[in-house]
């Protein structure tokens, strides 16, 4: 069911946080837990500018949970279509751009802008945009707001103790709106002491042009049947409060409004003083606090003589509504029980290690959520197990088949390549299996086996940038980089590498689309025209096919595929596959009782400096 227009936030609202704001996220979760929400109010975090992504660890009640963290707002919005709020913590320099982007996503209804110091013209452009799109902006220069017992924005509402003190974990009957974010808690506290508490509290921010006005929020409160009275805290400067005056006069607002405009002190100041808020400066008599207070009072608002009496006036209006039966006595709800170790400073300990692939604590060992007995019973292949432990999900059969094919093909390449050679030499030195295999594995890297990673990276990048095969070859030549995945020491066009042929055959038979392979074969056509042995090699083929396979699954975004490559997953295939061969070589040497290896002299070219050359430098130094 669609929510009524007057609802911006409620118990089901989830949001995307733009900015790596762990503390604010944690406070939102504390609040949600306290209020007994079903799910956390934060769906995802966006950590811009290529900072850390992955997961953010936070507490939800007693449990530690993980929230997804992305580098791009677009990814977060796409993956979390239910989240209709963006809380924008970007700095004043980038807040505008981020807000424009956020407003333009159809799933986003409300954007809260925290930054202070956004140019006024930019804010006005944002307001025009949000009006055109029928959306909401709260801020800029605000801490946000809260709906009691439902949702709170970022740091609004303050510390846990204040949420409890002001009873923000359950609904009251009072709608509150102010310019000042700092006064939000103060007023919530005052309202909770003098009535049944806050229903909703919003701080629109102290800028000259707020993204939504005091009146617009009062109109929402007027439309909301659960709100019975309203409190508004205005400020010297601007004419927002006169909109409220007009709305009171023409009957748009009928519920009781208690109002106070701050800045009455300005009249005694000798010359103009800019208050803390950008908009707080009276230009002309009508913008003074006194003039606004008088106008509000004349229009029928409840206006105290000074801020000091605001609390009593709230109480009077509330008691009056109760006497008249407009506000019913509610039974006091208790907040959800909060664990005693809630204060992170004292007892609760944040864990140091996260594991998201396997869990050995329960009755049964789990691989990515699948009990080991199912893995056995349901006939998971080795490829399936790899997909569970490497990709955290069971991938389709053709993918796991490819993984196994790649393992089979890379398992060994004879005794002379670095890995096997090292393993053999170590085994001959009398070391054990672990040391021998490790010695071999350690040679895997940029020159040996590493071409899988690099081939995937470079070819994918070229295709992503829309280069033609020719442009790609020319670019690499200009940069003086050998194209990874191209070239072989021994094999050539006339003496093809069967392994590559096998992989290609498999791809043509099993993959509906193989864009990157097609691209690579075009590249090969160009390079082999130059030199016979510049063929597409097995490393390149494994890497490139893997990218095509990830695309074909249609479950990964470009960013995610880039990440899979960048963290070294493809290298993993080579390490895993080749380990089979190196264990073989170790066992082979042990069975043969091989003796310590010593490299023959005649295979080493000895080229030492002469004695004079060696001593020359030290001699000249000595003389001085």
């Amino acid at each position: 069911m669609a929510k009524p227009d007057y609802v911006l936030f409620d118990r089901d609202t989830t949001s995307i946080i733009f900015g790596n704001q762990q503390a604010a996220v944690q406070r939102m979760l504390h609040f949600g837990y306290l209020a007994g929400r079903d799910k956390p109010s934060v769906a995802a975090i966006v950590n811009p500018s290529g900072g850390r992504k992955g997961l953010m660890k936070v507490f939800y009640g007693r449990d530690e949970i993980l929230l997804p963290m992305y580098n791009k707002l677009s990814t977060a919005v796409k993956n979390h279509p239910d989240a209709d709020v963006v809380i924008n913590f970007a700095s004043f320099r980038s807040a505008y751009k981020v807000s424009v982007e956020a407003l333009n996503y159809p799933t986003i209804k409300t954007v809260v802008i925290i930054a202070e110091g956004i140019p006024e013209r930019q804010t006005r452009e944002l307001i025009a945009l949000r009006k055109k799109l029928g959306k909401w902006i709260i801020g800029p220069a605000t801490v946000g707001g809260f709906v009691a017992g439902g949702f709170k924005v970022g740091n609004a509402g303050g510390a846990l103790s204040n949420l409890l003190m002001s009873k923000l974990y359950r609904r009251g009957s009072v709608g509150f709106v102010s310019k000042s974010g700092g006064m939000l808690n103060e007023m919530a506290n005052m309202i909770s002491l003098n009535s049944d508490g806050v229903y909703e509290g919003i701080a629109i921010g102290g800028d000259k042009y707020p993204g939504s006005t005091l009146l617009e929020h009062l109109q929402r409160y007027e439309a909301n049947p659960d709100i019975k009275m309203m409190v508004v805290l205005g400020e010297i400067g601007g004419d927002d409060e006169y909109e409220i005056v007009d709305a009171l006069k023409d009957g748009q607002i009928k519920k009781p409004v208690i109002a106070w405009v701050t800045g009455t002190c300005a009249k005694v100041f000798p010359s103009e003083v800019q208050f803390g808020h950008a908009g707080a400066m009276a230009r002309g008599e009508t913008e003074t606090a006194d003039a606004k207070n008088t106008a509000l009072k004349d229009a029928g608002a409840y206006v105290p003589g000074s801020y000091d009496d605001l609390d009593e006036l709230i109480r009077e209006v509330y008691e009056d509504l109760k006497v008249n039966g407009i506000i019913a006595e509610k039974e006091e709800e208790a907040p959800r029980e909060v664990p005693v170790d809630y204060d992170p400073g004292t007892m609760r300990k944040s864990s140091n290690i996260i594991s998201t692939i396997s869990d050995d604590r329960g009755d049964e060992l789990m691989y990515a959520g699948i009990p080991i007995s199912d893995v056995i019973r349901d006939g998971y292949s080795v490829g399936d197990v790899i997909s569970l432990l490497w990709f955290k999900k069971r991938l389709p059969k053709y993918v796991t088949e490819f993984l196994e094919l790649a393992l089979r093909i890379t398992a060994d390449h004879g005794p002379c390549v670095s890995g096997a050679h090292n393993a053999i030499v170590t085994a001959m030195a009398g070391k054990d299996l672990t040391a021998s295999v490790a010695a071999g594995v350690l040679t895997i890297g940029p020159r040996f086996g590493g071409a899988i990673d690099d081939a995937a990276k470079y070819f994918k990048d070229a295709l992503d940038r829309g280069l033609t095969p020719r442009q790609f070859v020319d670019e690499m030549k200009a940069k003086n980089i050998n194209i990874p995945g191209i070239g072989h020491r021994i094999k050539s066009v006339h003496n093809p590498d069967m392994r590559v042929n096998l992989l290609e055959e498999w791809a043509f038979a099993n993959l509906p689309k193989h864009k990157l392979l097609d691209f690579a074969l075009e590249v090969e056509r160009i390079t082999t025209a130059k030199k016979n042995n510049l063929i597409f090699n097995v490393d390149g083929c494994v890497g490139i096919l893997f990218v095509d396979i990830l695309h074909s699954t249609e479950i990964y975004t470009e960013d995610e595929i880039d990440e899979i490559i960048n963290i070294g997953t493809l290298n993993g295939i080579f390490v895993l596959g080749r380990t089979i061969g190196m264990i073989g070589h170790y066992l082979d040497q042990k069975r043969l009782h091989s003796r310590l290896y010593r490299h023959p002299w005649d295979d080493v070219l000895y080229m030492l400096p002469s004695e004079t050359e060696a001593l020359e430098y030290a001699e000249t130094k000595k003389k001085r």
Binding site: P119, V143, A159, P270, S271, F275, A278, D308
Partner: protein, 425 residues
């Protein structure tokens, strides 16, 4: 920050740099203006700008206040020597403008222009767009002639080229129409692209494709500095007339600029008895209001605020600056210091109070010497620890101090403090 006034000299100088491009060459503006200050005499100015000696001149203070003619501070149609004599007399003199007394330090010198027509043009912003106000009867009496001003609205996302300007130019002669249309368009673009909050030319005249602004008032949106610093050039935001920044205010201003938090200080009356150190842009105003409402407006020494979770170090610097100012002059009956604030959202009360405590320790002897009573009220994250620490510090330092938490009404502490103070109305 906000919209802030700039000197007429700067406004005209910037305009001269941009007019050709913005008007696509249709309007000429020569930007003949000079600024005379205590450090730059008119003689020094004349060496670079020869027209100062050859032209008849207009001279007036350029310090963000208007109605200079009415205050006898406008010199019109004079020679270089007459201007020099007048400047010698007025420079560094103290004058009273409205309620404000201040020192004259900056004067604008420009060629005297014979006015056959006095036009009025102003640009202002509102939420959904900008207004262009125009009148063919500008001049000092524009306010009484406001009914002659016509206004059109330019929506925020509209292009000025698409706006029909004829309604405001109705009253001008047909030969001036085309030129004024180009001029208004160019000046609107100037106002918009350079992020002015307010721009007024009153009066100005326009002859043969050349623009002659006589008086100009301009406010820039200083938050746009990061977008416009090249277009603006080396711009200065002077303090309002009669409110030259004290070194302490300048110090806090610099601190504020470097910090991600907000730190503001304005000294209203250094001889005052009531000093405030309040957290929060909203709460600080309410504290000041309450002091005024209770009749102690004349005794209110400072307005200021700290907010946005400043560091311990920043809060210490702020508190120290305030305590230093506060302990320079003794007053009969002592002073009060209100360390106030609402219930913070995310400012760590304990950490900020650590800074205040360090400052109190440093100034403890002086605080006692000046008979200062301290009243504290604060809530927010870690407030229990913060309040306990400052209470303890007060005891150890033997200060006259009262400490309250969020259970007390925010401004109650003001009435408690002022009850024990002599004076007030």
């Amino acid at each position: 920050m906000a919209q802030r006034g700039i000197r007429e000299y700067d406004a005209k100088n910037i305009l001269a740099k941009h007019m050709k491009k913005l008007s696509k060459g249709t309007v000429k503006y020569r930007g003949k203006v000079a600024l005379v200050t205590p450090d730059t005499s008119i003689a020094a100015v004349a060496k670079k700008k020869h027209w100062v000696k050859t032209n008849k001149l207009t001279v007036k203070p350029d310090q963000l206040f208007g109605k200079r003619g009415k205050h006898g501070l406008l010199l019109v149609n004079v020679t270089y020597d007459e201007a020099k004599d007048w400047l010698d007399e007025k420079m560094n003199s103290i004058v009273e403008v409205g309620k404000v007394k201040g020192k004259l330090t900056h004067f604008l010198v420009q060629p005297y222009v014979e006015l056959d027509k006095e036009f009025y043009l102003a640009f202002t912003g509102y939420q959904d767009g900008d207004y262009i106000h125009f009148s063919s009867e500008g001049g000092v009496d524009i306010e009484t002639n406001w009914d002659k001003v016509t206004t059109i609205n330019v929506p925020i996302d509209a292009k000025i080229e698409d706006i029909d300007l004829t309604p405001i130019l109705d009253s001008v002669s047909s030969e001036d129409k085309k030129g004024l249309k180009d001029l208004v368009t160019a000046l609107y673009l100037f106002y918009r692209k350079l992020q002015f909050g307010f721009l007024e030319f009153n009066p100005f005249t326009y002859r043969d494709g050349e623009f002659f602004p006589i008086d100009t008032v301009a406010r820039l949106d200083d938050t746009a500095q990061y977008l416009c610093h090249e277009k603006w050039g080396d711009i200065e935001f002077p303090a309002p007339f009669g409110r030259e920044l004290r070194s302490e205010e300048q110090y806090i201003d610099d601190l504020d600029e470097k910090s991600g938090s907000s730190l503001k200080l304005t000294v209203l009356n250094p001889h005052g008895k009531v000093w405030t150190m309040v957290a929060g842009g909203g709460a600080s105003v309410i504290y000041a209001d309450t002091v005024v409402d209770l009749g102690f407006g004349d005794e209110l020494a400072t307005y200021g605020e700290y907010s946005g979770n400043p560091t311990t170090e920043e809060t210490y610097d702020y508190a120290k600056t305030l305590l230093d100012l506060m302990t320079r002059e003794k007053v009969e009956g002592g002073k009060v210091l209100l360390i106030g604030g609402g219930i913070a959202n995310f400012t760590d009360v304990a950490l900020t109070f650590d800074g205040i405590i360090t400052a109190l320790e440093e100034y403890a002897d002086k605080i006692k010497e000046h008979d200062i009573k301290i009243y504290i009220r604060r809530g927010g994250p870690n407030y229990e620890a913060g309040l306990a620490k400052i209470r303890e510090a007060g005891k150890i330092l033997d200060l006259d101090m009262e400490v309250h938490g969020p259970d007390m009404h925010m401004t109650k502490v003001v009435s408690i403090a002022l009850n024990n103070l002599d004076g007030g109305n």
